[in-house]
Structures are given as C-alpha cells and as structure tokens.
Amino acid sequence: MAMRCKRCRGRAVMELRRHNAAFCRDCFLHYVGQQVTRAIAKYRMLGHTDRVLVAVSGGKDSLALWDLLLDLGYRADGLYLSLGIGAYSERSKAVCQEFAAARGATLLVHDLAGEHGYTIPEAAGQGGRSSCGVCGLSKRYVFNRAALDGGYDVVCTGHNLDDEAAVLFGNTLRWDTAAMARQFPVLEATRPGLVKKAKPLYRVAERETAGYCVLKGIDYVVEECPLVAGNTQMRHKETLNQMEEAAPGTKHTFLFGYLDRAAALLKVADVTELAECARCGMTTQAPDDPAEPPVCAFCRSKDRLVRSLPVVEGASR
C-alpha cells in the first residue's frame, strides 16, 4: 500500500524516517520552508531588510537555499565562484545562471584563476592542503571579500544537516575543539573585515534538499565534483548513514545535541586572538609570535600555489 502524507493523508512522495513521517509534495515543501524559517528565527540569521549573498555552486543545497530565501521574501543575490574544474565548473556556472534568469535574481560571478591566479585542479597535490582543503579556504575567502565589497549584511551557505553532522563527527574524532567552537549555524561579524555567516539549511537533511529540488523542478548539477572522490567528509557521511539506517535520527540527535548542550561551552573556551592580515587586510588568526606579521591562511596558500605554477603571460599571478 502506498504511503500516506502525515499532514493531509494524500499520496506521500518523501519519507522522513528520522521524523517517522512521510509527506506529499505540497506538505513536504511546507515542511522544508518551516525548517528554514525556524533556523533563521532561532539564531537570528537574517532580517527582511538585510542584503543577503547566497554562495551557490550549482548543487542541490545552494540552489534549494537560494530558492527558499527568495520564496520567503529575503533580498537574496547569488554568488558563483568558478573554480576552474573544466567542464564541471562550466556546467555548474550555467546551471546557476539559468536559475538566476528563471527567478529574475541577481548572480555575481567570480573567477578564481582570473582574480587569484590558480585553479583548484592546479592546487591539487601542491603545498600542504588537499584540493578540497584549498577549495574550502578559497571559497570562504572569496565569499567574505565579495560580501564586504558588495555591502552585503550576511553570507548564506547551503550547509545541510548531513554536512554539519559529518564535520562535527570529524572534529570530534580528532577532538579539534577549536574547530568545534567555530561550528555553529551562525557566525556573527565580530570585527571589521568579517561578514556574518549563516547556514539556514542546517535543519534539513541533504536527501531532503535533493527532494526539494526535484519537486520544485530546479535543475541542479547531479554529478559529483571530479576532485572529491574519497574525501574525508564523504567517508564520514557514509559511516553516519550506516548508523542512521540502523537508528533513524542519529545524525539529528548528534548535531542538535551538540548545538544545544555543548557548543556554548566550547565557544567560551575558544580564546583565538584575531588580527588583520598584513598582506590583504582580511581578518585572520594572530600568530603565536607577536613579532611575526600576521598573514592569513589564504595568502599563505596562494603564495605557495602561485610560486609552484608555471608563469603564464598576461595572467594576474
């Protein structure tokens, strides 16, 4: 017998085992909107007068987030950063541009190679960071800078419940308490040079964002990034999904328990001092030696990468 919607008893299309529920199309879309509204309200992420910049990759999470914020009446522009990953990046950019055109929304496009002199495939295998590590660092830097330059009040990213649970899982396995202290659904702009960051999808599982896109007819890039295979976060997600299968709600309990009961304790204990990067002026961690000029992780990484790459005539390296 077909499953029935928990709210209206219509034919269900999405089953949410962690909530012991199933929903029809309209009730599921209502549920997702409600989760996002609740997240925004609980952590005071956004206001309706704020200028919001949504970091979009062309994937299910960021496009679902942009769509939801527009539907909820927020002033949300998109920002796509081209990472130079061949056809994958071209397709991702096209998907974002098509979404923006269909919604009549504004999309800013930045290009890592054009603006900073390297692509993510070039970064793979260079220096101490993995390609995913350089990618994450580059995105955080460019999103913050673009938001500052554009006068945006807040940057929203499409991190979902599974992303957050997997990151927390990894940080817990290493007892990386400094990283845990910074893992929160909202990070306030605590000093000039920092823009507020928010993750309005932290209550929504990634299978749910994918379902949202299918039900709303949002074309997203289904293909996985060709550089991501075997990365640590994927392995952690697979492990958590095995546990979730045996005990639905495990990821939810793990993440929400942390946020409700442990995050504040770690935040208080986090005494990281911040300083202004001597090269680019962005906020960074102060060096242990006060005589040493502070240089942010992005500038250090970029220096290493650009030095290791062949000189290209006319490139801004």
Partner: protein
C-alpha cells in the same frame, strides 16, 4: 519482471529482476534508502511504492562531498 535502474552519480545502468517495491529494488542494489531518491517519470517514489515490469527508474544519490 524486469526493472531498469539508472544510478548516478556516477552514471551507470543496471537491470534488476523480481523486485515488487522500491524497497526491494534498493535492497537488491545494496543501496541505503536514506542516501538516495528514486524517481520514475519525473516523480519521486517512496520505499513502499510498487514497481512494474518494464519500469525505468533513476536512483539518484543525494550525498555530496563539498563543504
């Protein structure tokens, strides 16, 4: 009874025999139901939905490794 399943990513297609429901198909493919969406003719299916001979479905993995 034969069902054709397109799994992605990565993209591959397999034929599965004797599966009455979506849950049977996923078990046969050894895929965790909580990690995928199953789509037939553009519509999402739940684990209890019935399959029919000749059905073509997409089993779309919803796990991504960004971050």
């Amino acid at each position: 009874m034969l069902v054709t399943a397109r799994l992605r990513p990565p993209d591959r297609t397999v034929e599965v025999a004797d599966v009455r429901r979506v849950a049977d198909l996923l078990a046969s493919l050894e895929v965790l139901p909580g990690a995928v969406l199953v789509i037939r003719d553009g519509a999402l299916l739940t684990s209890q939905d019935e399959l029919h001979d000749g059905d073509r479905v997409e089993v779309r993995f919803a796990i991504s490794g960004g971050g």
